[in-house]
């Protein structure tokens, strides 16, 4: 049996605990960007179609533009800002996108990085076909696909090195 639903929720974002009002049904993306100043996740379509807003919830990708804050109570959220080491060293996936220049304008970059991270958690050494398949719901309009695919391959190598 549960009591009445609480009007605020507690959630962990990039390791820090936050209390967020759930009553007004705002989307996680708005809260991250407008209230918490975490602007790595981008608004692209508001309908989960483009992937620019992707964050990780308990390590799994989520489209923050359609995820009400009430749905992340007690969850662990990671945004693009939370990937690098505290000393500034990039996460291997970020490092790979830097080396392979996996961005032109960079607006879709957040979603590409976050989704690649989730892919590599499941499939540490993906084939090119698996990379293409995993990223098929992340839109890029600049046509950076070649570099993004290369970045994801490089990310798998760097993650392998780190875990070796």
């Amino acid at each position: 049996m549960t009591g009445p639903v609480a009007t605020t929720i507690t959630t962990t974002i990039n390791g820090a605990e936050h209390r967020i009002d759930r009553a007004d049904g705002r989307m996680l993306l708005d809260v991250l960007r407008d209230d918490l100043g975490l602007t790595g996740a981008k608004y692209g379509c508001g309908m989960a179609q483009c992937g620019a807003c992707t964050v990780l919830v308990d390590g799994r990708p989520a489209r923050a533009c359609v995820l009400r804050t009430g749905r992340v109570a007690g969850r662990n959220i990671t945004t693009l800002e939370g990937l690098a080491e505290p000393d500034g060293r990039l996460h291997p996936v970020q490092q790979a996108f830097l080396e392979c220049e996996g961005a032109q304008c960079g607006y879709c970059l957040n979603g590409m990085v976050m989704t690649t991270l989730a892919l590599l958690a499941d499939t540490p050494a993906p084939t090119e076909a698996e990379i293409r398949d995993a990223l098929r719901h992340n839109l890029c309009r600049c046509g950076t696909h070649t570099e993004i695919i290369a970045s994801a391959r490089r990310a798998a190598e760097l993650m392998g090195d780190r875990n070796a």
Binding site: M1, T2, V5, R22, R26, D30, R33, D34, T39, K42, Y43, G44, C45, G46, M47, A48, Q49, C50, A52, R60, P61, A62, R63, V66, L67, R68, G70, R71, L80, E81, L83, A84, L90, Q94, L98, A103, Q104, C105, G106, Y107, V113, T115, A118, D122, I131, R132, D133, L135, R136, H137, L139, C140, R141, C142, G143, T144, H145, T146, E147, I149
Partner: protein, 1138 residues
């Protein structure tokens, strides 16, 4: 170090291009902007190279009107080719001056000085650049004679150089325009007129009749409604509040006039008023055609495209007491400043436009428009205002890449092109700022701009030519987009020459070379064909393997930009390979090899990236993209029905950069896009013998063209599911539109039973806590508050409309309000209503209220419920009178119904069953009244029992699926599944609660776990007898033909319903193959879910789904529902077409 004024380098009119500070750091200024192509890095390389500085000691400032020179809009790939020229000369001027000063200071001959990393050395002594600043405020004028560094000495230019903006972008620290925050900033949301995407006609700026500010003034965060002409917007403290207010604001607009028939694009464009401009009259076209052996006439059609920036436009404006500051993602900061001056009446110098990077734009999108929006709202409220357009606003209103028509007539004589006539229509202009149009600051007359002439002359020697551009105003808002008119013009040139080569029986590459006079172009064609492995051919090769056809295509172009005759940017050639499924018409672009001659290469990685980007983007444009229109406006509002190329569709790309280090650098931002359409069309011809002359080459168009050419019809396994059996539908229709379960006001005016007197109920304090807790659980199990609370209304105060086959009734107020609720009801009156369906005043209650179930309740539960309900918060709220059809409003009808269908008796335990089973049965059959929704009803709306009991029904458009009998068993329902579902709303692999059932489960969270287990035990017993050994497997999805609806599913639905990765948090919890909305007898439930989405109750850990009512048309929704049925329930009959 003491602060020293920097040393600047300016042009003759005093515009600063470079400044050197005392630390030796150089800042370059360029009026162009970085559209995401990396020109910021390339410009830094140019400056650092000329000054022998490490790259990190150069900063570029781009497109900031108070600091950078006005160099026009960032278009036509001119930044490197045109705008970098004075910058490089400024750097050379500075270098020469610094060397001169060092010579004097070091007392050394100039040739003895060496420069290394921004320091000038002679023997043991050295001076930094910053040390050579002499007088404060001094500046140098650009010396056009200052010697430029020879290419042979380059060490940065031509080298792989990482993008300088990337490290910040990778950690979320780069400040895109969308990320700009200004102190005191509030948020605006625009309300656009109904003539989306239109820019001329007397209705533009004059269609707003009125709006009702009072209706929204109390909404949270409200600051103001701002109106000027047809400009309308809401300002609020928070962005989501501004949007909510804007969407709630009642507005009246005049109905806009229709568009011409955009379905007949070619006919409509040709019929518009246009001014012909003849640009090339070499020889005599008429004589040339007369003298030809073979003459072909062809028409090529190019569709409207979206720029489709991934980030909808955003801007922040601060009116700043009449000295405005605008933060923008514009491509044209100086042009925008001029527009804002016109909008506000301020001199341009008073306005400071600060450019931030935006999402890649590829041309004129809404970035400038949103600046006007923000400034109007900031001026009105006196605070900085940020405006973020929605995806729909951006998509509907962006000036599109224009449709274009090319008519070609050409002749072949003695195996060579002898005559070529081209007429082209390009209905586009520069996209006047929307705020100027909406406010009436500029007129709403049509504005043609002559930009249809890019690469309008084919790059071939032809003795007789007549090239005519028909200049015309936009039909819908349109402006330049990557490749501008050069891409469609080249589609015509390069397809036509391919046709001529085939007519001449010549290899397409050899045929082109025969007509090319320019040696650089010839070299590019030759090298590209050779390195790409071009196979010589004379006519189409028609290579086939089974139903697949394979082909190669060639095309080439020099992108010519600027006013005619224009300036040449880089030349590019494509060799591409396609694979075509001759049955489904799907074209796969498997490989693209691009050769490009861009003169000096500044950053080879940057050039290659631009080639890749051009290939992928235009491949998508050519194969799939087109804007569609209804009678009045463009129709697309999201990515759902506008397919950009995806990661799993992009081709392999190989590049060949022709080495020309001694030639000036040429723009590379668009060139590789220009041959795309023709190369792909030519490859399709090689594979199939079919010529595609209208883009995009969608599967539908390919199928039609292949059928016409005699290819086999679509195979059965790719066909849509068979048509439905009609008879079933008539029967199912009887079950439609039945009823929910609520206590409804008497259907009859005259009481058929005696009235029970009003009383003052016992005070709440007289009930024990245990009794009230028991009542609370009964109340939750009965889901009472759900039906007795109107949408947006006070809890339990009734007023929810219930549509029944016999009319509309409204649920009653069950709070203890003495006048309008149950506040004067005795227990006897309550008990009679609950068990016999008779209201306190003696009138009969309509059986939408499930008293037939409640009659079985125990006396203890009934009293506990009564007690608990007397403690609810009283709310005064009258219940509307029911509107019933005859004969249900006649006095005896309900009484007669009761006689037929109602047995008023307590449910007795079955001694043969366990206590838990009996408890579950009691809850399911009485308090829980599951049968009210889950049992089919007869023609008189009575629930059926026996074998039909709990075997599924449609309720208010929602499908309440079978929870008993063989169908439920086949879906896998057992005790564990029922228990999980009742406790969490989710039974793994079987179902997630949605719609009204989600609220039921949310209320069940108040109920003891043991009771939910008991319900599961009982329900499982109803499936057990009928249970198959194993549940029926989910049917395999049917293969679907690639249609517009298929693509809509892939674009809008697949992300959550066919997710690319396991465990996506926002994905659906139940596969569509098991969705009861898809397996329902009729499409209503699926359509409701698509339209309205799902919003799971807060108490349950279930997924939401966004609704698509605002994005999709009713036709699209109906088609999508039927697509889901055919794909995911192929074992069930198809739903009838709407």
């Amino acid at each position: 170090m003491p602060e020293t004024a920097p040393l600047e380098v300016r042009d003759a009119s005093g515009r600063t291009f470079l400044s050197l500070d005392a630390t030796g750091h150089v800042t370059g200024y360029c009026g162009h902007v970085d559209l995401g192509t990396g020109v910021q890095t390339a410009l830094s390389q140019i400056v650092a190279e000329e000054l022998d500085l490490p790259l990190e000691r150069v900063t570029m400032v781009l497109g900031d009107t108070s600091r950078t020179p006005d160099q026009g809009p960032t278009i036509a790939s001119e930044t490197i080719q045109v705008s970098s020229v004075p910058l490089r000369q400024a750097a050379a001027t500075l270098r020469a001056a610094l060397l001169d000063r060092a010579r004097l200071r070091l007392n050394a001959p100039r040739e003895a000085l060496a420069i290394e990393a921004g320091r000038i050395h002679h023997a043991e002594r050295c001076l930094g650049y910053g040390d050579l600043i002499e007088t404060p405020g001094e500046w140098l004028e650009i010396d056009p004679e200052a010697p430029l560094k020879p290419a042979a000495e380059f060490r940065l230019v031509g080298q792989k150089t990482g993008r300088r903006d990337l490290p910040d972008k990778l950690v979320g620290a780069h400040e895109f325009i969308h990320d700009v925050v200004v102190a005191g900033m509030v948020h605006g949301h625009v309300v656009r007129p109904p003539y989306a995407g239109r820019d001329s006609g007397d209705f533009v700026g004059t269609s707003l009749i009125g709006y009702d500010e009072a209706a929204v003034a109390d909404m949270p965060g409200f600051i103001a409604i701002v109106r000027e002409g047809d400009f309308l917007g809401a300002v609020a403290e928070r962005s989501d509040q501004a949007r909510a207010i804007a969407e709630a604001l009642p507005v009246q607009w005049r109905m806009p006039p229709p568009l011409p028939d955009m379905g007949d694009l070619a006919g409509t464009i040709r019929a518009q008023p246009a001014t012909p401009r003849v640009l090339d009259t070499t020889g005599s076209i008429d004589k040339g055609l007369d003298a030809s052996d073979r003459v072909l006439r062809r028409s090529y059609v190019w569709p409207y495209h979206l720029h489709g920036s991934i980030g909808p436009s955003c801007s922040v404006a601060d009116w700043n007491d009449g000295a405005p500051i605008l933060w923008t993602g514009s491509q044209n900061p100086h042009m925008l400043r001029g527009d804002l001056a016109t909008l506000t009446g301020l001199p341009p110098e008073r306005i400071d436009v600060r450019r931030h990077q935006a999402a890649g734009c590829y041309g004129r999108n809404c970035a400038d428009d949103v600046g006007g929006d923000a400034l109007l709202m900031s001026r009105a409220v006196g605070r900085p205002v940020r405006v973020q357009l929605t995806r729909a606003q951006e998509t509907l209103w962006e000036p599109k890449g224009a449709g274009q028509i090319m008519d070609v007539e050409g002749g072949l004589k003695d195996g060579a092109l002898h005559a070529y006539r081209l007429d082209t229509w390009y209905p586009s202009n520069r996209g006047p700022n929307l705020a100027l149009l909406l406010t009436g600051a500029i007129g709403n007359e049509p504005r043609p701009v002559p930009m249809g002439d890019r690469t309008v002359v084919p790059p071939y020697s032809i003795p007789n030519k007549r090239i005519t551009v028909h200049d015309l105003a936009p039909i819908v808002r349109a402006a330049w987009m990557r490749g501008v008119s050069a891409l469609p013009n080249t589609f015509a040139h390069e397809c036509f020459i391919d046709e001529m080569a085939a007519e001449a029986g010549a290899d397409p590459v050899a045929f082109r070379l025969k007509h090319v006079a320019d040696p650089r172009q010839a070299e590019l064609i030759r090298q590209t064909a050779e390195k790409a492995g071009w196979s010589e051919q004379a006519g189409p090769r028609l290579r086939r393997e089974g139903r697949m056809a394979y082909g190669q295509g060639f095309a080439f172009a020099t992108y010519v930009h600027g006013d005619f005759p224009g300036t040449a940017a880089a030349s590019a050639a494509w060799v591409c390979a396609v694979a075509i499924d001759t049955q489904t018409g799907e074209v796969t672009l498997s490989r693209v090899f691009v050769g490009q001659d861009q003169g000096l290469v500044i950053n080879p990685d940057g050039v290659r990236q631009q080639i890749h980007g051009n290939v992928h983007q235009t491949a998508g444009r050519v194969l799939n993209e087109s804007v569609s229109f209804d009678a009045i406006t463009p129709t697309q509002k999201s990515w759902a029905d506008y397919s950009v190329i995806r990661m799993d569709e992009v081709p392999e790309v190989e590049t060949l950069l022709i080495e020309r280090p001694d030639e000036p650098p040429l723009g590379v931002g668009e060139s590789a896009a220009v041959p795309s359409a023709a190369a792909i069309s030519n490859a399709i011809f090689d594979a199939t013998g079919v010529r595609m002359r209208e883009a995009p080459f969608t599967p539908e168009r390919m199928r039609a063209a292949l059928r016409e050419a005699g290819y086999d019809a679509v195979a059965v396994d790719a066909a849509p599911a068979p048509r439905p059996r009609r008879g079933l539908w008539r029967r199912a229709a009887l079950a439609l539109g039945t009823i929910g379960s609520a206590l409804t006001v008497g259907a009859v005016g005259i009481p058929t039973a005696r009235s029970l007197p009003p009383v003052t109920p016992p005070p709440a304090s007289s009930f024990s806590a245990e009794l009230l807790e028991q009542g609370r659980q009964v109340f939750a199990t009965g889901n009472c508050s759900h039906c007795h609370t109107a949408v947006g209304g006070a809890a339990n105060a009734g007023g929810l409309a219930v549509e029944t086959p016999f009319g509309t009734i409204w649920t009653t107020n069950i709070t203890p309000d003495p006048e309008t609720g149950l506040g004067r009801w005795s227990f006897a009156a309550f008990d009679r209503a609950m068990r016999r369906g008779i209201s306190r005043d003696g009138s009969n209650l309509y059986p939408a209220f499930p008293y037939t179930s409640f009659a079985g309740m125990s006396d203890e539960d009934m009293f506990a419920l009564y007690a608990y309900m007397q403690t609810l918060e009283p709310v005064r709220s009258e219940t509307p009178k029911p509107q019933m059809l005859a004969p249900t409003n006649l006095r005896l009808a309900n009484a007669g119904w009761n006689l037929l269908f109602h047995q008023n008796r307590r449910l007795e335990p079955d001694p043969a069953q366990s206590a838990e089973w009996n408890r579950g049965r009691y809850l399911v059959e009485t308090v829980g009244h599951c049968s009210a929704c889950h049992s089919p009803r007869n023609a008189l709306a009575a629930t059926k029992d026996g074998a039909a009991h709990l075997t599924g029904a449609m309720v208010k458009g929602w499908y309440a699926p079978p929870i008993a009998g063989p169908q439920a068993a086949a879906r896998g329902w057992d005790k564990d599944a029922f228990a999980a579902y009742l406790k969490s709303g989710h039974a793994s692999g079987i179902a997630s609660a949605a719609g009204p059932m989600a609220d039921v489960v949310a209320n069940l969270q108040e109920v003891e776990s043991a009771d939910l287990d008991a319900m599961a035990t009982y329900l499982a017993s109803l499936t057990a007898d009928a249970a198959p050994v194993r549940p029926a497997p989910e049917p395999a999805p049917a293969p679907m033909l690639n249609t517009a609806t298929h693509r809509l599913f892939e674009n809008a639905c697949a992300v959550c319903h066919e997710p690319a990765l396991e465990g996506i948090v926002t994905a659906a919890q139940v596969p569509l193959g098991q969705s009861m909305a898809v397996r329902a007898p009729s499409p209503e439930t699926a359509e409701i879910v698509i339209r309205e989405g799902l919003r799971a109750p807060d108490a349950l850990d279930l997924a939401d789904m966004p609704g698509f009512a605002a994005e999709l048309s009713e036709t699209q929704i109906a088609d999508l529902a039927r697509y889901l049925r055919a794909r995911y329930a192929p074992d069930l009959p198809a739903w009838p077409e709407p």
